[in-house]
């Protein structure tokens, strides 16, 4: 590359990142080398470039040395590109006269050989210095933001986010897949660590959602498509048929009474199958909204069309509509909060715990219903065989911390196991054994809670349960043996119990991957959605305008869920109240003179940003929709699509830079 006669004056900086980069890359050598490259007038290394003094250094150097371009070699642009662009701007330059080199994630962190790592840094730096000389000034465009918000999922997370936003005067669409909001929390009797009644704290929030003028509550509805970008999303919502006209139903339950099934015969989902319901039913007494629904899987009309339809005739308000079809609706929103929650691990995945095989084995969620005053037995703990348990074993870590199922710790099971131990003792007076691997009680008041319950006289056995099987000493073979090594006394123990409670872990919903693809957000291989930064952007996703709240991001308790839901609402408010969003200028545009109107690019754009203008016979790219992926740029046969920040000269100079290594004295030869 030629020296541009002093017009281009580059300042180069390499960051030590404490010892993250400096321990693997010889930063002094890199800065010395950069100084020798064309157009470089300032070259420095510094401990933390992202710190205030680091940024000040750039700003002052620009002013004092009349710099026209800046290159920083540091961490990933994800973290600090904006920081340094901003410093470039503060120094008086267009912020796009800046280029970043990733010498940490792409270099220091992934190699083991310091010498080679340094040489790689030299190559990367040279490429950036060649490239930046070609940079053009660009402006970020401002686009207005739609003030309405979509909240997906009406568990405690979605409820809290929706209420926070609605109270701030924003219009919220709360879309819940099930016929009622409430999520898992609605199923619990009491909640740790305070043992306050779940219904008492949740139901008022549920009715507040229902009655809030700013909240549009859609239950039994799902999102089936999302288009657009931050500030201007279009969501397609599917309303599943309830076979009840929602506006007419007042929840009087007359139709349930009138159903041709006189007895409830079908497993009740909300009660985990521990009780029965009719084909027409109310999910549970406090269901919100108070609207019944008909389950076509069990309704005679849908199975054989031979029902006298007593439900239809019984309804004075003519709310029953057996012809109802799914309905689709499109809404415009500026931001989305994903609060789709979790699913408990299927206890059958650990076959040796006998769930589904031995009637005395229950999941924790079933027990939550059993001890619930509004549950299938009104809170009386009766086993499937009608008896009352005198000894109970609670098995921790079912489907957690186990490579055969899920490797993570589900975070809430130790505490809810302790809670269930207390509640079961209170309800039954039984002898209670908790089998645990490690007792994990982080969080405010949690250890104190554990201590309080321990004082009630629970037995704690430190050992993961290895086997559960019917006791041969029980003539009826109903009693179960729970076998484990008590690792503290180093003995194998076999405890006979009447009831086993499996504390199943938390895992992503089955459709987590589908939802992720639809929303264009990322998730880990196991399926929990990934936050933009684990510490500093815990509720943001990598997609602007889409935020996370609650257990869809990872297992957590209610206090943390609510905190996160509030944070997500605050992030949304920060966006909306600013009124506009700035979009990155790295979009593509058509050079109309060159465009032959061949339309090759139109179908290729994954964001449908390209249209064809009939009158001009030219293609046109909508800047607001373009995400700068470059697909069309590469595809255009006449080379008439140009992408800002990725223009030919910029890319070619970068390539020239990376290949022009002949001028370095290689210190190492590679065998």
């Amino acid at each position: 590359m030629e020296k541009k006669n002093g017009q281009i004056r580059i300042g180069f900086y390499i960051c030590h990142c404490g010892s993250n980069i400096a321990s693997m890359v010889d930063v002094a050598k890199v800065s010395e080398y950069a100084a020798s490259l064309p157009n470089v007038v300032v070259s420095k290394d510094y401990k933390y470039m992202c710190s205030d003094p680091g940024q000040e250094m750039i700003i002052n150097d620009i002013k004092e040395n009349n710099l026209t371009r800046v290159v920083v070699a540091a961490c990933s642009p994800f973290l600090h590109e904006n920081t340094f662009r901003n410093a470039t701007f503060q120094g008086g330059l267009n912020q796009f006269y800046f280029q970043m080199v990733n010498t940490r994630e792409h270099n220091a962190w992934v190699h083991l050989e310091a010498m080679a790592t340094t040489e790689k840094a030299l190559d990367l730096v040279r490429a950036a210095i060649y490239r930046v000389a070609e940079h053009k000034p660009l402006e970020r465009k401002k686009v207005p933001i739609h003030p309405d918000v979509l909240v997906l999922g009406g568990g405690i997370a979605g409820i809290h986010s929706a209420l926070t936003l609605a109270n701030a005067g924003k219009k919220v669409y709360l879309v819940e897949r099930e016929p009622t909001i409430g999520g898992h929390m609605a199923m619990f009797d009491k909640t740790f660590p305070t043992l306050d009644c779940a219904a008492c704290i949740l139901t008022p929030k549920m009715s507040a959602v229902k009655n809030h003028p700013n909240i549009v509550l859609w239950t039994y509805a799902e999102i089936v498509g999302l288009d657009g970008f931050v500030g201007s999303y279009k969501a397609k919502i599917k309303h599943k048929p309830r076979y009840i006209i929602e506006e007419l139903c007042v929840g009087c339950n007359d139709c349930i009474e009138a159903c041709v099934y006189k007895e409830a015969r079908f497993l009740d989902e909300f009660n985990q199958g521990l009780s029965k319901r009719k084909p027409v039913y109310m999910p549970f007494p406090q269901a919100t909204p108070q609207i019944v629904l008909i389950d076509p899987e069990t309704c005679i009309h849908f199975k054989s069309a031979k029902c006298s339809q007593t439900c239809v005739t019984s309804c004075e308000r003519n709310a029953v509509d057996l012809q109802q079809q799914p309905r689709f609706e499109e809404i415009e929103v500026g931001t989305v909060i994903v609060a789709t929650g979790f699913k408990p691990v299927d206890a059958r995945k650990v076959p040796y715990y006998g769930y589904g095989n031995f009637p005395g084995v229950y999941t924790a969620l079933e027990v939550e219903r059993l001890i619930n005053a509004s549950g299938p037995t009104q809170g009386e703990v009766v086993l499937r065989d009608g008896s009352h348990p005198k000894t109970i074993g609670i098995v921790h870590c079912v489907g957690s911390r186990d490579k055969h199922t899920n490797q993570w710790c589900s975070r809430v099971c130790c505490l809810y196991s302790v809670k269930l131990a207390h509640l079961l003792k209170e309800h039954t007076g039984a002898d209670i054994y908790n089998f645990y691997i490690d007792m994990r009680t982080p969080g405010k008041m949690m250890e104190e809670f554990y201590n309080r319950i321990a004082e009630e006289g629970m037995k704690f056995i430190r050992g993961r349960v290895a086997d559960i099987y019917p006791d041969r000493d029980d003539p009826q073979r109903k009693r179960l043996i729970v076998k484990a090594e008590d690792t503290l006394i180093q003995e194998i123990i076999k405890i006979p119990v009447d009831m086993v409670v499996l504390s199943t872990g938390l895992e992503p919903r089955e459709d987590a991957q589908e939802v992720r693809r639809m929303l264009n957000i990322t998730c880990s291989t196991e399926g929990f959605y990934i936050e933009r930064h684990p510490k500093l952007a815990p509720v943001n996703t990598f997609t602007d305008g889409i935020f996370l709240a609650g257990c869809c991001q990872g297992p957590k308790d209610i206090p943390d869920t609510v905190a996160q839901a509030g944070a997500a609402a605050a992030e949304v408010l920060a966006l909306i109240d600013k009124g506009y969003i700035e979009i990155e200028p790295n979009t593509a545009y058509i050079n109309e003179e060159e465009c032959s109107g061949c339309k090759s690019c139109v179908p290729l754009c994954p964001y449908t940003a390209i249209s064809y203008i009939e009158e001009k016979k030219k293609a046109f790219i909508n800047e607001a929709l373009c995400k700068g992926c470059g697909t069309c740029v590469a595809a255009c046969p006449s080379g008439s699509i140009i992408q800002n920040l990725f223009e030919d000269e910029e890319i070619f100079s970068e390539i020239e830079g990376i290949l022009n290594f002949r001028n370095i004295q290689r210190e190492m030869s590679y065998a």
Binding site: P351, Y352, C397, R401, D402, K403, H404, I437, D438, R462, G463, R464, V465, A466, D467, Y469, P470, R472, K483, A484, E485, D486, T487, Q490, E491, I492
Partner: protein, 398 residues
């Protein structure tokens, strides 16, 4: 199951920590699932969990001074449930066991004898190698012996010692020969050239006995051309898959049940006699837990007209060992002297609980063990033990 057994060749307890397997061992969370799953856990001073802790602290000598690992019956129960998927039975326990046996003041007599016999005669019973094909007397179907006709063959059937010498094992060998003939399998055996695959040699890692049997059989295998090895002994299957592999053995190996499963469409129409049995099937540790064949034996049993299957409480991956593996076959007296209930006696109780009249097995060790256990339990006559191949034949023959 361990991915790369070859890479463990030559590993010792000193070098194990630095292998990928060692990294797994370091991840142990001391949960005790292994000890709780172990059928002999109650009698071990050092069950796998404590062994790992002692190893971490450099105190393994204490472990070798105890006979804990002598009680390990190689049943894979601990390994299959370990939440960190540590290959306990496959690697660590074998290495510990080797040291334990080497340092025993006296090796229990029965076991000592079996080891010596295997070394000297190529079978743990101490029978003459020349009598290995005696099971073929009175057999009315042809069985090709490779030393007499060394034409290439599809299936090299590795008969193994129990089916060759034990009277009940011989019944199963004859059943297999007949079934293979009916199915037109192109098969042959090694005859008197065969020696035990070395399962009891697997008490040790690779030294001594195991190595000499491996060398011997590997040399014989190179003499003949065959496509695959089939054996009715799951222990031999294990030896070939996990020990011989370490020494470079590459042939395809199958157990006779999964092998017959491949012939299922042909086999099924041949099962014509209705057998009015209520059957419970005992999953052999090596066939089930270690190699994952749970459904094939059941599907074959279900295909026999008239058979009703009832499951024991512990089945499939949670099956309980008959106590014959890992040398247990020759330690009954030793265990008895320590007041340890024989595992076969324990297991038979579960079988009896099912109310079945036939206990179906797929491993030649189980036949004598369970027949004896039935006698002890006073159930002799009320329940019989049959190999699946015997049941197949019963349904086939006119």
């Amino acid at each position: 199951m361990i991915a790369d057994i070859e890479s463990l060749r030559g590993v010792t307890l000193e070098t194990l920590y630095d292998t990928p397997e060692g990294r797994l061992i370091k991840s142990c969370i001391q949960c005790g699932t292994c000890a709780g799953s172990c059928p002999h856990g109650e009698y071990m001073e050092y069950p796998p969990r404590r062994i790992i802790k002692m190893m971490q602290l450099g105190l393994l000598d204490k472990v070798f001074d105890s006979d804990s690992m002598l009680k390990c019956v190689n049943c894979y129960a601990c390994m299959s449930k370990c939440p960190r998927e540590i290959h306990l039975t496959e690697v660590l326990l074998q290495l510990i066991k080797e040291q334990t046996i080497m340092r025993l003041p006296v090796v229990p007599q029965e076991l000592q004898k079996a080891l010596e016999n295997s070394y000297r005669y190529g079978n743990p019973m101490g029978e003459s190698g020349r009598k290995r094909i005696n099971w073929m007397q009175n057999l009315d179907v042809p069985v090709r012996i490779l030393s007499q006709n060394s034409q290439p063959v599809d299936v090299l059937w590795f008969v193994e010692s129990y089916p060759s010498y034990h009277p009940r094992g011989q019944d199963t060998a004859r059943a297999i020969a007949k079934i293979f003939n009916r199915l037109n399998v192109d098969f042959a055996i090694l005859g008197n050239e065969e020696k035990s695959a070395g399962e009891c040699g697997m008490l040790s890692w690779e030294s001594g006995l195991a190595e000499s049997l491996v060398d011997y059989n590997m040399a014989i295998f190179t003499k003949y051309k065959f496509n695959q090895l089939v054996t009715s002994d799951p222990h031999a299957l294990d030896a070939f898959l996990y020990r011989y592999k370490m020494f470079g053995f590459k042939a395809k190996v199958t157990h006779v049940i999964p092998f017959l499963w491949q012939y299922f469409d042909k086999l099924k129409p041949m099962l014509i006699n209705k057998l009015h049995y209520s059957v419970t099937y005992h999953d052999s540790c090596c066939l089930g837990r270690h190699n994952g064949y749970y459904e094939e034996p059941r599907e074959i049993l279900k295909a026999i007209p008239g058979i009703k299957i009832t499951e024991m409480v512990h089945n499939r991956s949670n099956s309980i060992c008959c106590g014959g593996g890992g040398g247990g076959m020759w330690l009954d007296t030793y265990f008895k002297s320590q007041n340890i209930e024989r595992l076969s006696d324990n297991r038979i109780k579960e079988a009896i609980e099912t109310g079945a009249d036939v206990l179906a097995v797929a491993c030649p060790y189980e036949m004598p063990r369970f027949e004896d256990a039935l006698k002890v339990a006073g159930y002799d006559g009320k329940m019989v033990v049959k190999d699946i191949t015997e049941l197949i034949l019963e349904s086939m023959e006119d």
